[in-house]
Point group: C2
Chain length 353, copies 2
DNA sequence: CTGTTAGCGCCTTCAT
DNA sequence: ATGAAGGCGCTAACAG
C-alpha cells in the first residue's frame, strides 16, 4: 500500500532568489516581465523557477497592488443555456482585457446571493457582474458593496442603484409580443405556466403577458396561471420541464381549458408540450405553445417551438464592457441603463406549417 | 446630468480601530468572533464597522492564515445539466464545510484549462476539483499544481496522478450497455453520433460502443461514426443539438443507413431525432435512438428517450468529500479511485410502447 | 479582556 | 542592471 507523503510548502520569491543567487526583486522582475534584467540573470532565474515549481502568490500580489485582475460573475440557474451563453460572452471580453472570471452560483435564495457577493468581495475581485433575480436582502447587500466601492454591473436584475449599470433584455415587451402573437391567431383563453400569482411579481415577461391580455380586452383567468405547487423559488431551474409538465396537466383538467399557453421558458414549454401530447392533443391545432429564450433545443422539438429570443451574447458583452469601463475610471461613472430588444421567433408550435 | 463621484477606499481594520478607540487586534476579534471582547467594546466596534461599511480583506487574511476557505471547480460545458448538477452537489458539501466555491469554465481548449488552473492556483484556493476532459497540456500543468502541493480531485477526467483522487462514472460500461441493448433488439447496423474517429479517443462511452460491437461480432462501420465536420473540440457544448442533427443527416444519406444510433449525449440525441423525424422516419420502428446522461429533458421528448443515467450528484458529493479529506490532512493521502455505476434507462425511443 | 510584535509574499520607490 | 527598504491588511503568539 502506498504511503502518504508530507505536504510541501509553496516556493516563494525569496526561495527562488536564494536558489538563483539574486534578490527577490530581480526574480519579481523576471516573473512579471518588467524592468531590466540581463539575459544571463533571467536565464538563471527562470531555471530556478521551473526547478522549484514556483507560482506567484496572488494574495500577496493583490494585496500589494490593490487589484486582482479578477472579476466575479454571479449566476442563478447555471444549467440554463442562457446563463452559459452569458458566461461565455463575459469571459471573452474579460479575458481579452486581461481579467480572470470567477463564477459564483446563487441558485434560489437571498442567502446564497449574499454568500456569493460576500465571498467575491472578500477576495477583492476588481468588479462584479450580477445576473440573478432581484430580492430584497440581496439588493441591500449589493448596495453595501457598491457603496463600499466595488464596481458592479447588473444583467436583467430589477434593481436600480445610482452607481451600478443595468443591462437588460426587454422581457416586458417580449412577453407582450408572445402573447399578442397568440391573440392575433385568434386565441382568447391563454394560460401562463411558470409563476404563481404571487411569485411572478418580478418576472417581466409575465407582466408583458398580463398587459397584452388586458390591452386586448381579455381576461387572464387566475386558474389559467399555474406554477409550482409549493412556495419559494426552490425548484431547480434545470428541471423546469417538470414544472411545465405538471402545470400543463393542471390546465388540462380545467373545465374551460386554455387553447394556448405561454411558458416562462423553453424548458417549461417542452414539459408542457409533453403533457399535452400525452393527453392526445395536437400542437398547434388543439393547443398552441410559446416558450422563451430560444435555446438551441427549441428548433428541434416536435413541432419546433415558437419562442422569444433574447440578445444573450450582446447582453454579456455590453455588461462586460460596462464593467471594464467602470473598473478603469478613477471616478465612479454615472449610471447607465441599457434595454435590449427581444425578437419573436415563430415556429410550428403556434402556426401549423 | 449626474456627475461621477470619486472612488472610495475600503476601510481597514486600522480605520475601524481608530474610529472605535481600540487596537486593530480587538477589531479583528470582534469581526471574526473569536477571543474575548467585552460587550461594551464589541458594541462600539460593531458600530464603527457598519458606519464605515467595513469588509475584511480576504487577500490579507488569506496571506496571513495561509488558507482561503475557498475551492475551485473547473467545468467544461457549463450549459450541460450534468455540469450544473455536479456544481450543485459540490457546493452543498463545500458550503456545509465552510468553503466557498469559485467556478472556472474551460470550454474547449487546453489553453483555457491551463488558464483556469493558473488563476485558481494564483489565488491560492485551498483545493481544486477538475471536471474537464483530459488533454496533454492541461494534464501537464495539473501535475505541476498537484506536485506544488495543491489538493486536487478529478471527476471523470481520464488522467491519473499518484496524489490526486479520481471519481468517475463507469461510462465504458454505460456505453457498452446502451449498445448491447440495441443489439439485443436485433439491430446490427448501429451508428454513433458525436465523435470523429480521432477525437473520440478519450470518450469512454464511445469505447464501450466499440467494445460491444466487437464482442457481438458486429462491425462498427467507419462511415457510421459521425462527428463534427471541422477539427478540434470547438463546437460549443450546448449546441450539440446541431451536431446531432447534422450527424443524423449524414447517416441518413448513407446507402446502408443504420437502423439504430447511439448519441454521445441526450442533446445530441434530440438533434438526431429531429433530423430523423424530418426525414419521415418513425422512432423507434424505423430508427432506434439512445442518448446519454438522462437529463430532465429526456423524459419529455417524443418519444421519450432511452438513455444512460450517471450518478451525477453522487460523483459531486464523493469528489467534494474526497477533497475535504485531502485538504484536511497534514500529509498528502494516498490516491483514491472510485468508479460509480451507470444505469440504462429504457424508454420509447428504442422500444415501442 | 486588550495590546504588542512580527511577518505572511509581494511590489513600488528610491538608491546604487 | 540590480538591490534595500518599507508597507499592503491581517492575525498567531505572546504579554500584560
Amino acid at each position: 500500500m502506498r504511503r502518504s507523503t508530507p505536504k510541501k510548502r509553496h516556493a516563494t520569491l525569496a526561495d527562488i532568489a536564494a536558489s538563483a543567487g539574486v534578490t527577490p526583486m530581480t526574480v519579481s522582475r523576471v516573473v512579471n516581465g518588467n524592468g531590466y534584467v540581463s539575459a544571463e540573470t533571467r536565464e538563471k532565474v527562470l531555471h530556478a523557477v521551473s526547478a522549484l515549481n514556483y507560482r506567484r502568490n496572488g494574495l500577496a500580489r493583490g494585496l500589494k497592488r490593490q487589484r486582482t485582475d479578477t472579476i466575479g460573475l454571479v449566476l442563478g440557474d447555471i444549467a440554463n443555456p442562457f446563463a452559459a451563453e452569458l458566461a461565455r460572452a463575459v469571459r471573452e471580453v474579460m479575458s481579452a482585457e486581461g481579467y480572470n472570471v470567477f463564477i459564483c452560483v446563487s441558485e434560489h435564495s437571498a442567502r446564497e446571493d449574499i454568500a456569493a457577493f460576500d465571498s467575491l468581495a472578500d477576495h477583492r475581485v476588481d468588479g462584479v457582474i450580477v445576473a440573478t433575480r432581484a430580492n430584497k436582502l440581496g439588493n441591500d447587500r449589493l448596495a453595501e458593496l457598491i457603496e463600499g466601492g466595488i464596481p458592479v454591473v447588473l444583467i436583467g436584475r430589477d434593481f436600480r442603484h445610482p452607481q451600478a449599470d443595468l443591462i437588460a433584455a426587454d422581457n416586458l415587451r417580449g412577453g407582450y409580443d408572445a402573447t399578442a402573437h397568440l391573440i392575433s391567431l385568434g386565441h382568447k383563453n391563454i394560460g401562463f405556466i411558470g409563476v404563481t400569482p404571487t411569485s411572478g411579481v418580478g418576472l417581466r415577461r409575465y407582466h408583458g403577458y398580463l398587459e397584452a391580455m388586458r390591452e386586448h380586452g381579455l381576461k387572464a383567468d387566475e386558474r389559467s396561471i399555474v406554477g409550482r405547487a409549493g412556495g419559494g423559488d426552490q425548484w431547480p431551474g434545470y428541471s423546469t420541464e417538470a414544472m411545465g409538465y405538471e402545470g400543463m396537466k393542471k390546465l388540462l383538467s380545467l373545465r374551460r381549458r386554455p387553447t394556448a399557453v405561454f411558458a416562462r421558458n423553453d424548458f417549461t414549454a417542452v414539459g408542457a408540450m409533453s403533457a399535452a401530447k400525452e393527453a392526445g392533443l395536437r400542437i398547434p391545432q388543439d393547443l398552441a405553445i410559446v416558450g422563451y429564450d430560444d435555446v438551441p433545443l427549441a428548433a428541434h422539438t416536435s413541432p419546433p417551438l415558437t419562442t422569444v429570443r433574447q440578445p444573450t451574447r450582446e447582453q454579456g458583452r455590453v455588461a462586460a464592457e460596462a464593467l471594464v469601463r467602470r473598473m478603469g475610471s478613477a471616478e465612479t461613472p454615472a449610471r447607465e441603463e441599457r434595454v435590449m430588444p427581444c425578437e419573436l421567433v415563430v415556429r410550428a408550435s403556434t402556426v401549423a406549417e
